[in-house]
Amino acid sequence: MTDEPTPPPPAPSRPESTSQPPVLPAQPAGRNPLAGYQPLDGDPDFPNVLNKLLKKPLSLVHHLETSEESGRIPLRLLGITLACLAIFGVVVGSFSGGHQLWAAPVKIMGGLLFSGLICLPSLYIFTCLGGLEAKFRTIAGVMTALIALSSVLLVGFAPVVWLFSVSSSSATFLGFLLLALWLICSGFGLLIVTRAGRALGMRNTSHLGLWCVVFLMVTIQMTTTLRPILGPAAEHFINFREKKFFLQYWSEQFQAESDAAARVP
């Protein structure tokens, strides 16, 4: 017995798998996609889950797949999501104030969770098409991890959003900024999905790439469905009467903004 630190345990094999372990091409040092797919250090409490979500998200995926008591992690991730989106939503709602201070967080939370819910069946099927052998609850956990990480990163951008919301009066500009930030944050979240897929044995991740595009389109369309999130509150909480595709809506907003700017002497 020595005082030297013990090396981290190797990534465990999957004894009940009937498929061959993934054969990965030679990777440069430090770019092994399976790096981090190891048992979770410590208890799955809130601080540790948040810490691992940022540093070693694959350890959460490992716990989801191998532990019999894996239900706590999705609940923790859901709690992190709701807290972060509530904070971010208040910052967004502060642009207009009034009812938007509560309406914006509610719409952002509800919209993102609903988007995850309707995209979950296709995520499970597309991962199966790629050869992944994992339980449905693991995939559901990966989805919550994706949304949770995106939400945490959005909170990181909240001061930036606040800065532009107090120094700009253009809802269109702020809207484009929020969409761009969402694309950045969700990009990190979607990386978890692809890395988790490889770690869990997916041979072909091309279907996941397609699913990522669909997920992004659903979330962006959700912002249009639940409008207004920026700008003054409307008569109805959600406008079910006027239906618009997000491209159409944003082009109209941009055109209106350009016309208004052209009229200013």
């Binding site: 009937t18 309707i118 995209c119 499970y124 099927i125 098409l129 397609l210 469905t225 239906k243 618009k244």
Partner: protein, 236 residues
């Protein structure tokens, strides 16, 4: 002969992963209920997806297409069943009539699973599309048509890739399996297109009434309409 034991809930991921054990049991007849399982998956998957296809024209049209989309598959297999089996035998694949049906149902079941998984998303998209009474309804109709065609094409390509790999593995030779696949695909596309024509409308042209079938559904055919459209496009 290995027995692949999996419950109904495991059949879906096993089909998507293309697990050979499941299909071996089905083809070998060691696992009963395979035809019933595949038929059920087609009804549920294509039914849910068809519902979202027709939803743009309202709940009645949604119900009609939920019935018609699985019907296209079943009618195609019914009309081509004997032909598919005979082609498989004459092309030297060694695959019999029942096995031919099993292969094709497995392929269509895989396609139906993919479409069923996409149906929550297409349902959401349809709810967000302006109604047929919108002034730009023609453009929305074209967008709906193209997006659903892309989704069905994607599901069909993935499912048929699986079918080809199954055939090449289970046939007596890979070459015979590939030839059988091409023969089945050609025949089913040819007949399936005409059955789709007879069972129209699926998407529903704005301005036309919502009907289960158009008047005189057996008048004309898909290929004549394509030829007419091509003639209208060219000055010749």
């Amino acid at each position: 002969m290995a027995i692949f034991s999996c419950g109904p809930a495991d059949t879906i991921p096993a089909l998507c992963r293309g697990e050979r054990g499941l299909l071996s049991d089905w083809i070998g007849g060691t696992r009963r209920g395979s035809l019933r399982t595949c038929a059920l998956l087609i009804v549920l998957g294509c039914g849910c997806y068809g519902f979202t296809v027709g939803l743009w024209h309202g709940w009645r049209m949604a119900g009609y297409v939920a019935v018609k989309l699985p019907a296209v598959i079943f009618l195609t297999l019914l009309l081509n069943g004997l032909l598919n089996g005979m082609l498989a035998l004459v092309l030297g694949s060694g695959i019999g009539l029942r096995q031919s049906l099993q292969f094709l149902l497995t392929g269509f079941a895989t396609m139906s699973i993919i479409l069923g998984a996409l149906s929550p998303i297409t349902f959401f998209a349809t709810l967000n599309t302006p109604p047929p009474s919108d002034p730009a309804a023609a453009q929305w109709h074209a967008m709906i048509l193209l997006s659903h065609t892309a989704a069905i094409a994607f599901a069909g390509v993935v499912a048929h890739q699986r079918l080809l790999s199954y055939l090449c593995e289970f046939a007596d030779t890979r070459r015979a399996g590939a030839h059988t696949f091409i023969a089945w695909l050609s025949g089913n596309l040819f007949v399936g297109a005409q059955i789709s024509w007879i069972l129209r409308p699926f998407f529903g042209t704005p301005g036309l009434a919502v009907q289960f079938l158009r008047p005189d559904p057996l008048r004309g055919n898909f290929y004549e309409s394509v030829l007419t459209a091509l003639r209208n496009l060219t000055p010749l």
